[in-house]
Amino acid sequence: MLIELKDVCYTYGTGTVYEVSALDHINLQIGEGEFIGIIGHTGSGKSTLIQHFNGLLKPTSGQVLFEGKDIWEEDYDLRSLRTHVGLVFQYPENQLFETDVLKDVMFGPKNQGLSEEDCRARAHEALSQVGIPEDLYGASPFDLSGGQKRRVALAGVLAMDPEVLILDEPTAGLDPGGRDELLREIRFLRDKRGITVLLVTHSMEDVAQYAKRLLVIDNGKIAFDGAPKRVFSHYKELEKMGLAAPQITYIMHALKERGLDVDLRATTVEEAKRSILLALSQRASEGR
């Protein structure tokens, strides 16, 4: 197993009046090359959970293992862990600080101790992967548009060449075009580099389209863990947690109720179209 969480609990503000239990006995195993979607209501503990994967938060109780080793052991090298597990925060554009885009992206590789040359090469590669044109490399990161800043911040993490890429709502506040593009790039990266991706999102549609495994977090606990299609079949329970299945799921269930024999597990528009056309043609041939 690449990452393993054993009985992890986390409480914010221990010993003060404002104790908040954010994670409650989380057990989780993440294998190499997985594409995992993490979904949950606001305040359910998603951001808290992902900060455990690279040792930014220390569990109040329980263990976090990376490649079988406990990361909170006495002499574990947390800094090297952080180069293996890249974490892109919610609204990462707030972390930009350098005078120009290229330098900002080079910050991560520099901290890894690479030479100036290598840093530059890494930065170029990462920036081109996220689709930042070369004439912006010299611009101040503060002069970019919101979406461009987001991409630069993402490149800043990619340039460290992580094996695990964790993204906290990378698409929040992007336009639909930019959203799809970003997610396609991430999927492409996963396919090409074979990295493991964990994607926190509020969009069931995105999860349905990109993730192979879906974690549903509710109130600091893992409520569901499985293939998206399987999880979506519990759409009634999801609704109780303030979530919803993709809209297609609702349409398919409604069609089924009206007597059209469609595949309930369809989650994307494409799958639904195929299933509906098939069902219609079957009905037509039966009718004849």
Binding site: Q51, R82, L87, Q95, F97, F142, M160
Partner: protein, 266 residues
């Protein structure tokens, strides 16, 4: 989040929490003044008992009161030592160049007790009053100063905004720090220069965000036609209730007692 994590306010529902902030402010001042009026053991005992009663009334666990002592603990010890060793007078003991005198001992104890009671006494006010209520109360108390053209409202507005921004900025600092650590930044090793340099990735985004927030806030205030204090009324104006007058009475009695102690030298 709102009031959460603001200052050291301890949220619970006690009679002290419900008192008007103006009463608590004046009460605290009176308490501090009394501490400097009395000088005998009886006086300090009374002051300590009064503090104890207030703590019980406030329903704030005692460890939160003690916590307020932490930042001044060092100063307290140093002042006590200075007083202990540097006061001339009748010698009690000495080793090497240090001499302990009777006068020094008395003075050190008196300073220590005074400071401790002072800090704990004022911490009761901050523990039972939200910073917003406190600035509100101060604005009202100082409003007569408007006559001599002191911008009381503006000062109090600035204070509330500053107070409101503290937790926001701490949270922001925490977030940015984590984001840079995730990019391999190292904030706590190396020499002074290296450490100062390592603060750049933290400070630049922090300032950018602080300025952006300040700008947004100014814009939002302007959009709602904020134009300073003139003609402005409050949504929840402070009004005294019966318990506030009672509290004022007790405060006055306490002050009178302190003056008597002073005169009698108890």
């Amino acid at each position: 989040m709102g009031e959460i994590s603001l200052g050291q306010y301890y949220p619970t529902n006690s009679i002290l929490h419900r008192l008007d902030p103006r009463v608590k402010f004046i009460g605290t001042i009176v308490y501090i003044v009394s501490l400097f009026l009395v000088s005998g053991p009886v006086g300090y005992l009374c002051a300590a008992l009064a503090l104890f009663a207030l703590v019980l009334l406030s329903k704030v666990p005692f460890r939160f009161i003690l916590k307020s002592m932490k930042p001044i603990f060092f100063i307290l010890i140093v002042t006590m030592l200075f007083n202990l060793f540097l006061t001339p007078g009748e010698e009690l003991a000495h080793f090497l160049i240090f001499r302990i005198t009777r006068e020094g001992l008395v003075l050190a104890l008196r300073m220590g007790i005074r400071l401790a009671l002072l800090v704990m006494g004022s911490s009761i006010m901050t523990l039972t009053t939200t910073p917003n209520a406190l600035t509100d109360g101060m604005e009202r108390l100082f409003s007569p100063l408007k006559l001599i053209k002191v911008p009381v409202h503006e000062i109090s507005m600035m204070m509330s905004i500053a107070l409101r921004f503290i937790p926001i900025l701490t949270e922001e600092t925490d977030k940015i720090k984590k984001a840079q650590i995730a990019r391999g930044a190292d904030f706590d090793s190396g020499g002074l220069i290296k450490r100062l340099k390592s603060m750049i990735p933290l400070l630049v985004p922090l300032f950018v965000s602080a300025f952006r927030r300040a700008n947004d806030l100014a814009m939002a205030m302007e959009a709602r036609c904020y134009h300073g204090g003139t003609g402005r009324t409050q949504m929840k104006p402070l009004t005294y209730a019966k318990k506030d007058y009672c509290a004022y009475l007790i405060t006055a009695l306490f002050l009178a007692l302190a003056i008597i102690f002073r005169v009698k030298g108890w």
